[in-house]
């Protein structure tokens, strides 16, 4: 993947610097960003140095203090905006007891009300809209499960083994042909879309980039490990039923079986994953470290909130009442 297109002053400066030799003196300041879009693409690229990198960027930039400094400035904005929205949506827990956490977390996720993109695809979306949705979704699905992988070494025994049990399934249970990222790649190819990692980043909407960034942010900061797992729990717990709707919509529109299969796999897989994420990962972690309970809900909110914003934005563009 090559560096994406800059989308403002900050990303322009950052990407110009990244094309130079590492060590070149760069003075970058997150404060020069023009707007949320400029911040989102700059942060996205600075995280991407930790995943697969860019062909036109020297790998040593990954740990450049200059890049890390600008990244930290961007993360500060991301986190404060996220926490501000979360404050308006804190859970009303029945108790602080860890025994109630599974139920409270499932209830919190179920009570969240947002626009349903899957429902729209199931019954109304056009082929062109669905193709656009797949391109937008590819920004995450081609690195599906990777952001939670950062958390593994940061966990105690029980939650660590449980997270690996879930992740193993995301990564195809050892079979590359079943790797979820790869199922999506095959689906994109079959649908006539590009399947290389990051192929559609230049057209990614701001909410899509932000959602990607939130996952990397939570995954890469050990202090937010519980939020990363809360995000995972909410993601898995809002997947089976929407995946079935997506599969039905894709079939309605005559999409090839490979892309339908990606969603069908998620109907069954995520019915398992949601139970594992809540009962075997989040609950035991909070049982060991009770002060992490609120972070689990923060992460769950982050998932629900960023998914809503992506859906609302696309539906609005399409002139659909959400």
């Amino acid at each position: 993947m090559l560096l994406p297109k800059a989308r403002g002053t900050l990303s322009e400066q950052l990407f110009t610097a990244l094309r130079e030799e590492p060590g070149t003196a760069v003075v970058l300041d997150a404060g020069v960003a023009d707007d949320a879009e400029d911040r989102a693409i700059a942060l996205w690229a600075s995280y991407e140095l930790h995943y697969r990198g860019f062909e036109d960027v020297d790998d040593r930039w990954e740990w450049s203090p200059d890049v890390l400094r600008v990244r930290a400035g961007l993360e500060e904005v991301l986190e404060s905006e996220l926490r501000e929205r979360y404050d308006a949506h804190r859970p009303e827990r029945t108790s602080d007891r860890v025994e109630d956490l599974a139920k409270d977390l499932f209830d919190y996720i179920a009570a969240h009300d947002g626009p349903s993109m899957a429902r729209y695809v199931q019954t109304d979306a056009t082929e062109a809209q669905t193709m656009e949705l797949l391109r937008q979704k590819s920004v995450y699905h081609l690195k599906e499960a990777d952001p939670s992988a950062w958390v593994v070494p940061r966990l105690p025994t029980g939650p660590k083994a449980a997270l690996m049990e879930l992740q193993f399934d995301e990564y195809g249970d050892g079979n590359p042909a079943r790797l979820h990222q790869h199922l999506f790649e095959r689906g994109l190819e079959a649908a006539g879309l590009r399947s290389e990692y990051g192929a559609y980043v230049d057209e990614a909407t701001v909410p899509v980039l932000e959602s990607n960034n939130v996952q990397s942010f939570l995954g890469l900061h050990r202090r937010l490990r519980a939020a990363s797992l809360g995000h995972l729990a909410a993601f898995e717990a809002t997947s089976s039923i929407p995946s079935r709707r997506m599969a039905q919509g894709l079939e309605r529109l005559g999409f090839p079986d490979e892309i339908v299969e990606y969603y069908r796999e998620h109907v069954e897989a995520d019915a398992v994953h949601e139970q594992l994420a809540v009962r075997d990962i989040c609950v035991p972690l909070v049982a060991m470290e009770p002060n992490l309970a609120d972070d689990v809900f923060l992460g769950a909110f982050a998932c629900l909130d960023t998914e809503d914003r992506q859906a609302r934005d696309l539906l609005e563009r399409w002139g659909v009442d959400a």
Binding site: T157, R244, D270, A271
Partner: protein, 82 residues
Amino acid sequence: MSAQSADPTPDPAARPVVEERPTIVMCPEGPMLLRGDAVIEDAEGNRHRTTRPVSAVCRCNKSATKPWCDGTHKLLPKKLRP
């Protein structure tokens, strides 16, 4: 008599022992989790082999992908959930 019997009893506080995880788990208001390879025979006598390390077997009887759970239990009123 094994060599182990001579070992001092480990202090549980010093070495937290994680319990063996269960093979079958009944999730409240949800499916039954099943670990490992298994063949399930459904009410019609059809056989289904598990395809993943952990499977979720529907207990609410409303799944569209029986015998596997597809999340439908969450759409049921609470008193109809398992």
